[in-house]
């Protein structure tokens, strides 16, 4: 059996990894967005997420008690030690893919945070309370764009539908609780992930309906990110992200 400390550590790490990896992906749009306002919006979201990631990783380091700080955890773990869901690590693709990826995650992230904000762990509560406001905006942003794409032109509709179809198999993992998440759900620190599906379904159906996009069928679902088995993309992302820390061990920046 896992101790509560250990379960909290693993969960904080997971939340930090999800936020950090998605933030990194979104930050890749900075300077390359379809319109300047969107460079700014995606950068805003990336900034919110990196802020959340830093809170979680700092907390994880404290729970672990081995003196690792946010940067040790972000820059000196391998991809096999990252435990984010695969959905957030997928490369940006076109703007419809980026928006759809964000939407599917945001629609899960927001109810999770809301439930955490009334959970039992003070630190997680405090992080979640602040994050709820931010992620409310993220979900609004991704929903509005998905509707624009679904409703806009034939091309945007086609691209948005293709993105959803491609991304769908990465959504199952969001609701699969690992040992740590099961333990924390039992004592009311976090919600049972399976229970979030209802609200996620409702959000997805509402927005896809408005966007006149078709909800893909649940087929085979990809998973493994939570135990450090990722797509091939994460290794490349981390190689780039970690290059200076790896090349100059122990240096201060």
């Amino acid at each position: 059996m896992m101790t509560r400390e250990e379960a909290l550590y693993r969960f904080a790490l997971r939340m930090g990894d999800n936020a950090l990896v998605l933030s990194h992906r979104l930050s890749q749009w900075c300077g390359h967005g379809p319109v300047l306002e969107e460079d700014m919006a995606q950068t805003n979201i990336a900034l919110d997420l990196i802020g959340q990631a830093r809170n979680y990783l700092t907390y994880a380091g404290e729970l672990e008690g081995k003196g690792r700080d946010e940067d040790d955890l972000a820059y000196l773990r391998t991809d096999r030690e990252y435990t984010n869901v695969q959905l957030v690590e997928l490369p940006n693709g076109d703007y419809a893919f980026t928006i759809a990826r964000s939407f599917l995650f945001d629609a899960f992230h927001l109810p999770l945070l809301k439930a955490m904000a009334s959970g039992k762990d003070e630190r997680l509560k405090a992080i979640a309370e602040k994050a709820v406001k931010e992620v409310t905006y993220h979900l609004r942003h991704s929903s509005e764009w998905l509707v624009r794409f679904g409703d806009g032109t034939d091309e945007s509709h086609r691209r948005a539908q293709a993105a959803l179809d491609e991304l769908w198999r990465f959504t199952g993992e969001l609701f699969e609780a690992d040992e740590a998440e099961q333990a924390l759900a039992k004592d009311g620190t976090i919600p049972a992930l399976a229970d979030l599906r209802k609200e996620w379904n409702a959000t997805v159906d509402r927005v896809l309906g408005e966007a006149t996009l078709k909800r893909p069928d649940d087929g085979h679902m990809a998973h493994g990110g939570k135990r450090g088995v990722h797509t091939e993309h994460l290794g490349h992302m981390l190689a780039e992200m970690q290059v200076l820390q790896r090349a100059h061990p122990g240096a201060e920046w």
Binding site: C30, H32, A74, Y75, Y95, D151, T153, M241
Partner: protein
Amino acid sequence: MPDSQHEKRFQERIDAEQKVEPRDWMPDDYRKMLVRQISQHAHSEVVGMLPEGNWITRAPSLHRKTILLAKVQDEAGHGLYLYSAAETLGISREEMIDQLLEGRAKYSSIFNYPTLTWADMGAIGWLVDGAAIINQVMLTRTSYGPYSRAMVRICKEESFHQRQGYQILMTLSKGTPEQKAMAQDALDRWWWPALMMFGPSDKDSVHSVQSMKWKIKRQGNDELRQTFIDRTVPQAEFIGLKVPDPDLKWNEKTQHYDFGKIDWEEFRNVIKGNGPCNRERLAARRKAHEDGAWVRAAALAHAEKQAKKKAA
């Protein structure tokens, strides 16, 4: 009223330090000069996102990554304010962007240099934003109201950028031998291009005289450059970096630094399009614009459908 009367009154208002506002009468050439300058300035902010954007995914700590992201985002915001200021003169953002992408509009040549190491993030903040501030502080007093007000907002953020850049180099210069070398190398590469940011010497500058008369510009290029050098050299010394100019020395008599010859041949060459990254920068902007075309079309189509629904 005949134009000559208008023009006389216009100059009187300028001389009396009254701001010109969008609806006021203004000489055609004043409008043209401003459109050129403000759009060039806006393009510089936007193209300027690219060299620093190059290091966002490699920033060496979460703290530095946060600061860099926020900085590049600020530059996008500056681009937006400036495009809006130019639009008050009767040109649209689309027109300006087309001019940039077709190579008909300029942007600051400094952004045609490559960012090769992390220390370049320090050098850009410290030197490039530092030089920009000196120019922009002057422009807070420019005669055109919307431009002047945009500058007031922008200057506040630029001084953050400058401090954060200096911070990066200060940290590196206290770091490992490799980090120190990285910092010095960045200063060696960015120093002269930063001095060129103020433009050619006043005696060789075509637009300066009229621009000063209309108080678009308030100080000459040489004076601004000297202010920058006088301010920056002690900052370099303070963190133990050596300015790459053997002729640089303090002059007791003038109370300024004397400095070596600027290679204006290089400057002209970069402006002509032959800098190390001119092609890459424009190609990146074109790609973003072209890849984004369907996104903008979708947003427009959706908005039109919504408007129709509302009207029905």
